[in-house]
């Protein structure tokens, strides 16, 4: 008999331990597990090692003091500026940063997914990403709960022995304790369907020991299995499911809703100082116990304006979107 994977958000987040290596799905403001990040702040997670990127949901974790170290390739909220909490933490030296390349992030997750120890690339050849003076991997490892999750070297250079493509770097696999994805649809047994960019989710979920999926909709497994080619993560790789409509607000979810631009602008403005972040978090995180309260506070009319219009998957500007 199958055990149900359906849990509430609090229960799912309780599975995350301090010092875990974590990856949050989606990218920039698209399909980010924002509600899950807010619950992590509420539960006061500490010394997490953030892999991947640091934009909306991840930046909330930095502001909430959850992140000890970051290994990734992007610390920006796109048109809303550099991720404000990360910017402050970096500039005060209070967070360990180890920059890696974007393609290298993807293929290192792919290596973990394939069970391969490393993969060869030319992505960062010639750049300061490979500067030994900026190699903070050992400082990252010190913070990790399970140090075996991190490689013992950032990279090794060698000459391509097969095709004579010059210098290549051997990039170690990126292994994860936890992967949290926010998706459009999940079956009751955990089969995931994503619309729009898969970002790194289809690799990261298979590179993680534990996968938490928050979804706009939980549907009967038999329904999602009618078209398995459209599914992106198999049920066998998903451990916990949380039904969480609007769980990526103020970001967007393709075919469901668009960005809440005023909310994102307010976040960018307020979080330029730690006091501002605390004020913002008091209102939107600490002052709220459950996601439903967050939605009530936003109000139905505000959310309705964000609802995507078919066939676009977003709200076109000419039809009232993005103000």
């Amino acid at each position: 008999m199958k055990t149900s994977k359906l849990v509430n958000l609090q229960e799912a987040i309780q599975e995350i331990r301090d010092g875990d290596t974590i990856f949050l799905g989606g990218i920039v403001e698209d399909r980010r597990p924002v509600a899950a990040a807010m619950e992590m702040v509420r539960q006061q997670k500490r010394n997490l090692i953030l892999l991947g990127t640091c934009s909306l949901s991840d930046d909330i974790l930095v502001g909430g003091g959850c992140i000890g170290a970051y290994r990734g390739c992007y610390t920006s909220n796109g048109a809303f500026g550099i991720s404000p909490n990360m910017k402050r933490a970096a500039e005060s030296g209070s967070i360990v940063i180890d920059d890696i390349g974007h393609l290298d992030l993807g293929i290192a997750l792919m290596a973990a997914q394939a069970g391969a120890p490393f993969i060869a690339s030319k992505t960062c050849i010639g750049t300061d990403v490979l500067n030994p003076d900026y190699d903070n991997l050992s400082k990252v490892t010190e913070i990790a709960r399970n140090q075996d999750m991190l490689p013992n070297k950032k990279y090794i250079l060698m000459e391509d022995p097969f095709f004579g493509m010059g210098t290549v770097q051997l990039v170690p696999a990126i292994k994860l304790d936890i992967c949290i994805c926010h998706v459009q649809m999940v079956g009751e047994e955990g089969t995931v369907r994503i619309d729009g960019s898969l970002t790194h989710d289809h690799f990261a979920a298979l590179a993680a020991n534990k996968v938490i999926v928050t979804a706009e909709k939980v549907v009967p497994e038999s329904f999602i299995r009618q078209d398995p080619n459209r599914n992106c993560i198999p049920c066998t790789s998903v451990d916990m499911i949380v039904e969480l409509p609007w769980g990526a607000h103020p970001g967007q979810v393709y075919n469901y809703y668009d960005m809440d631009i005023p909310f994102l602008q307010e976040y960018a403005n307020m979080c330029s100082t730690q006091e501002g972040f605390i004020k913002w978090a008091d209102e939107w995180i600490y002052g709220i116990k459950r996601h439903e309260e967050y939605l009530d506070k936003l109000g139905a009319s505000r959310l309705e304006k964000l609802r995507a219009l078919p066939p676009y998957g977003y709200v076109p500007r000419k039809k009232g979107g993005v103000k």
Binding site: V28, A79, H102, G106, G126, V129, D160, L198
Partner: protein, 268 residues
């Protein structure tokens, strides 16, 4: 179409930069480009409208032949997904680069040096405690390494256009050979490509054939070669420069009314 020119003062330096970048993209009509976030997205929208309608856009968040119907807000935006030929994830979005399929990459940045190396990671201070932390590598590294050529776009200021970047994010013509960090020609590390030009808010810079140092090729109307010299952090050669064609009223109208009516990209 008769060309009606805008007067100096009727547009901002950023709008001029974006319009000239869109014109430069006419070199890539029918070619495949990987477009970076920020103003390159804006300029590619303008190029598609008037200079390069058959340009094929790839984006690092996994879209092939993207045809956004309105300006994307970020590098992953539902606006890029809708109407694209193919939507996968970030790795698949970057593979066309590492497969050597991409004819040109188009990026912004925060600092550029005389060899066209671009910094989008940090400025000032130390890596572990920078004065100003920026976005990091994102697609900028991948584009600079793998695209057959790159086009670079950023505001022209003395602290941005420098002798040597604080952090080498996107490789230009002279790059770092590790573990020593010696500066070598990119070909020495088996890298193809290299930047073809830097389009700034003052003019268009290109690279010498022999030593690959950046020189002023064109200055925008209202700007003098001396202005470029005064706003450049190394002794830039301006002796070969000519004045660029003025900005068209149509370019400004499209940018303001059609492409970014809400001024999301703060061009004005």
């Amino acid at each position: 179409m008769t060309k009606k020119y805008a007067q100096i003062g009727e547009y901002t330096p950023t709008e001029a930069m974006v319009a000239h970048a869109a014109r430069f993209l006419s070199n890539f009509n029918g070619k495949k480009g990987l477009i970076g976030t920020g103003l390159p997205l804006v300029a590619s929208q303008l190029a598609k409208m008037i200079y390069s309608p058959d340009m094929i856009i790839f984006v690092e968040t996994g879209q092939a032949d993207a045809n956004p119907q309105e300006l994307p807000i970020s590098i992953m935006d539902s606006r890029i997904t809708y109407g694209s030929s193919w939507q996968m994830g970030d790795p698949e979005g970057l593979y066309p680069l590492s497969r050597n399929e991409i004819d040109f990459g188009f990026i912004g940045g925060a600092q550029i040096d005389k060899y066209g190396n671009v910094n989008s990671t940090f400025i000032g201070g130390d890596y572990n405690k920078p004065e100003k932390r920026l976005a990091g590598t994102a697609g900028a590294v991948d584009i600079g390494v793998f695209a057959k050529t790159t086009v670079i776009l950023m505001a022209h200021q003395k602290r941005r256009v420098v002798d040597s970047v604080d952090y080498l994010t996107t490789p230009g013509w002279m790059v770092k050979k590790w573990p020593e960090g010696t500066m070598v020609r990119r070909e020495e590390l088996g890298m193809q490509g290299g930047p073809s030009c830097f389009i700034s808010s003052l003019g268009i810079m290109k690279f010498n054939e022999d030593d690959k140092i950046m020189y002023l090729d064109q200055y925008f109307p209202g700007v003098t070669p001396e202005d470029v010299k005064a706003n450049t952090g190394y002794d830039i050669d301006v002796s070969r420069a000519t004045e660029a064609e003025p900005i068209l009223l149509d370019e400004i109208r499209l940018l303001r009314e059609e492409i970014d009516p809400l001024n999301i990209y703060k061009m004005r």
